[in-house]
């Protein structure tokens, strides 16, 4: 066990995966000499050489498209997309090729491709550098979608994603890169919780607060604050956004009867929408109140100085908790922040 940042934990996870399996290759813009703009691949090209850590030409469809060819040839490519907002040029290769290839070939061709994407806001960045595109991928059958929130999960789940024979879109919340914790980067993957599992980040009784990635820290702070007022919040860190670990989630909701789900991304047709729909289907009789979504607005990501008015923060999450507990006298049928 070593104390390290989430960034370093990801680096350690990559190193471990590359050591364990020499078919793992890294591809991306600026990941070699520079070690990536977030230094997640720092030192890996020096260690594993230019063939296994490839600086690629500046073309995202090119990165994913050639990764597919490498996968055909038996490799396990780990592609870095430099920022969330730059994944869309590769969307066709991801949606029409990566996601469908295994089914298309009756399982003969596997796509063990991991797409690492620094995700989300809260870092005062420029346009296209703070987006939350999780829902696009969750809506795409054939992909798995993961978002980590802490160093240990980052390290272990990245290794699991790379080891998975399915393609995984692996989100790394930028605002958590510098969070530090103890990490065991050599944990046996089979003994770690499965890639698809959620995590009870904090147990509680009155409300189930579901979130992931960059908001897990905020949610825990909110739970702490609520405790002072006598509200016991169970925080669920989804970790796997597709598939969602509904065993864990529904068990919690059946106990609490009240759900708040918080996400950075826009609300319409999102992960939050899906979770609410499923929980309504599977826990209808247990719900004491309508589940509450606390999300980014349905707007393009705003400029840095306005992001605080877009991203759910502690106050907005607590407001959501108040709403699901019926403590807010609502003027309309619902209140959306």
């Amino acid at each position: 066990m070593t104390t390290m940042t989430m960034g370093k934990a990801l680096n350690a996870g990559l190193r471990r995966a590359m050591t364990d399996d020499d078919r793992v290759v890294l591809m991306g813009e600026d990941i070699g000499t520079l070690g990536g703009v977030y230094r997640i691949t720092d030192g890996l090209q020096a260690e594993f050489g230019e063939r296994r850590v490839m600086d690629t030409p500046l073309a995202e469809a090119g990165i994913l498209g050639t990764a597919i060819g490498l996968a055909y040839r038996g490799y396990r490519p780990v592609c870095e997309i430099q920022f969330d907002g730059f994944v869309y040029p590769a969307f066709d290769q991801i949606v029409s090729q990566v996601a469908k290839m295994h089914a298309r070939t009756h399982g003969l061709v596997r796509m063990p491709i991991t797409v690492r994407i620094p995700v989300g806001g809260g870092i005062g960045a420029a346009e296209h550098h703070s987006e939350s595109p999780e829902a696009y991928f969750a809506h795409t059958a054939g992909l798995r979608v993961v978002s980590v929130s802490n160093p240990q999960d980052a390290c272990t789940m990245l290794r699991q994603a790379i080891a998975s024979d399915d393609p995984v879109i692996f989100f790394e919340p930028k605002r958590r890169y510098h969070v530090k914790a103890e990490v065991d980067d050599a944990v046996a993957l089979t003994e770690a919780p499965a890639l698809g599992s959620a995590r009870i980040a904090r147990p509680g009784e009155h409300v189930t607060l579901i979130t992931w990635g960059g908001l897990v820290g905020v949610a825990l702070d909110a739970a702490l604050a609520a405790e002072d007022e006598g509200t016991s919040i169970e925080v669920v860190d989804l970790r796997s956004l597709s598939p969602v670990d509904y065993d864990t989630v529904t068990a919690s909701v059946r106990r609490t009867g009240r759900v708040v789900i918080a996400q950075e991304g826009p609300r319409e047709a999102s992960i939050a929408s899906e979770v609410v729909a499923v929980l309504t289907e599977r826990c209808f009789a247990f719900l004491e109140a309508a589940p509450v979504r606390v999300t980014g607005h349905d707007i393009p990501y705003p400029p840095a100085r306005l992001e605080k008015h877009h991203l759910p923060d502690l106050d907005r999450i607590l407001y959501g908790v108040d709403r699901v507990l019926g403590r807010v006298r609502e003027t309309g049928v619902e209140v959306s922040p």
């Binding site: 050639t66 597919i68 060819g69 490498l70």
Partner: protein
């Protein structure tokens, strides 16, 4: 690698070794590359072309009779496809579009497997690793990147283990595909890594209704030079010339000389697919012009001029064609409809609780009709 940096693309006339009457033109550059093609080998190419044309015609017929939902014919492109297909080694790997029945045939794909997709019973027809050919690609141009990545993998393998065969990846696409970003990005990646990939562009003059002049104002073979990739423009209806330029590009790639590009100038004599009506956009005179350049007639004339075409050959090939067509038809009609729950198969390689749940729910729903 100065060769890669000094591309030899030109706007000149396509490479041609057989004229339209089947007469052989000499070429210092290309003759050595096809010196092994004796009468027997030429007869083999002839048989391939006749067979694949017959398979194609049967595909058209089966569609017209309602046995297939759609068929994209290769009529007119036999020399380009057989020339390419027969120049490859079994350890090479092809990434094609939907029209390369001839290439697939050369890769050993059973004719009936060509039909599965078009009958709608499967989204792919064969084992890519057995054939050394990926499942055909419908998204125009996407496969050019797959081939490039595969070629990068060959490079890696050879670095890891020098005993790895010097295989080459091949990307087949059409003239229309040259406008897609993916194909151009593929050329960037191929050049940067000097990957052993050959881009084989069949310029059949049309992308559905759009003439190639809408995609480019200069020959397509001029494009790769600006990416640092050598290219050749070849008469795609001349199976000897196609064989020669493909072998040249393959040899260069095998030898570490990097990617190559071939524009095979040919003509789609049929409709884009059975759903298309080319009379809406094509002058009948044009079709007539190209009919005179028929690739099979040309090889046959050449064989005749060598005294290597006789009734036995003609009859044996015809008999073989009849047999293949009959088997194809029988195989097509016998194809079973897949089982309902197949829709859930192979979406993931590993267990997936939510999809398993959907499968179970659907199975229960279907069961309700039975009980």
């Amino acid at each position: 690698m100065p060769d890669a940096a000094k591309p030899d693309a030109t706007t000149q006339d396509p490479v041609r070794l057989l004229d339209e009457h089947g007469a052989r033109t000499a070429s210092d550059r290309y003759d050595p590359l096809i010196a092994d093609l004796d009468d027997h080998a030429l007869a083999g190419l002839y048989e391939d072309m006749v067979l694949i044309r017959r398979i194609d015609a049967e595909g058209m017929a089966l569609q017209r009779q309602g046995e297939l939902a759609l068929w994209p014919p290769l009529l007119g492109q036999e020399a380009a496809q057989i020339g390419l297909g027969r120049a490859l080694r079994s350890d090479d790997f092809v990434f094609s579009s939907y029209r390369e029945h001839g290439v697939a045939y050369c890769r050993g794909v059973a004719p009936v497997d060509l039909l599965r997709v078009w009958r709608g019973v499967s989204v792919s027809g064969w084992d890519p690793f057995e054939a050394g050919m990926a499942s055909p690609q419908v998204i125009i141009g996407a496969q050019a990147l797959h081939a490039t990545g595969y070629a990068m993998g060959i490079q890696n393998d050879r670095e890891r283990d020098p005993a790895t065969p010097d295989s080459v990846a091949v990307a087949c696409f059409g003239d229309g595909a040259m406008s897609e970003g993916d194909v151009n990005e593929a050329m960037v990646f191929a050049a940067t890594y000097q990957a052993p990939v050959v881009f084989f562009c069949q310029n059949n003059q049309y992308a559905i209704s759009e003439p190639v002049s809408l995609q480019t104002r200069v020959p397509l073979a001029d494009r790769p030079a600006g990416f640092g990739i050598p290219s050749a423009r070849v008469d795609g209806n001349d199976v000897l010339a196609v064989t020669a330029v493909v072998r040249e590009a393959l040899e260069r790639a095998r030898g570490g000389g990097g990617p190559g590009f071939i524009e095979a100038v040919t003509y789609r004599m049929g409709p884009h697919t059975t759903a298309d009506d080319p009379t809406r956009y094509r002058d009948p005179a044009e079709l007539e012009l190209w009919s005179a350049r028929d690739p099979i007639q040309r090889l046959r004339a050449h064989l005749e001029s060598r005294g290597a075409f006789g009734p036995e050959l003609e009859e044996s090939v015809a008999a073989r064609a009849d047999q293949v067509a009959a088997e194809l038809r029988a195989g097509c009609i016998a194809m079973p409809d897949p089982d309902a729950l197949e829709v859930f198969a192979d979406v993931y390689a590993e267990p997936h609780a939510e999809l398993d749940r959907q499968r179970a729910d659907y199975a229960r729903y279907l069961g309700g009709f039975v009980s």
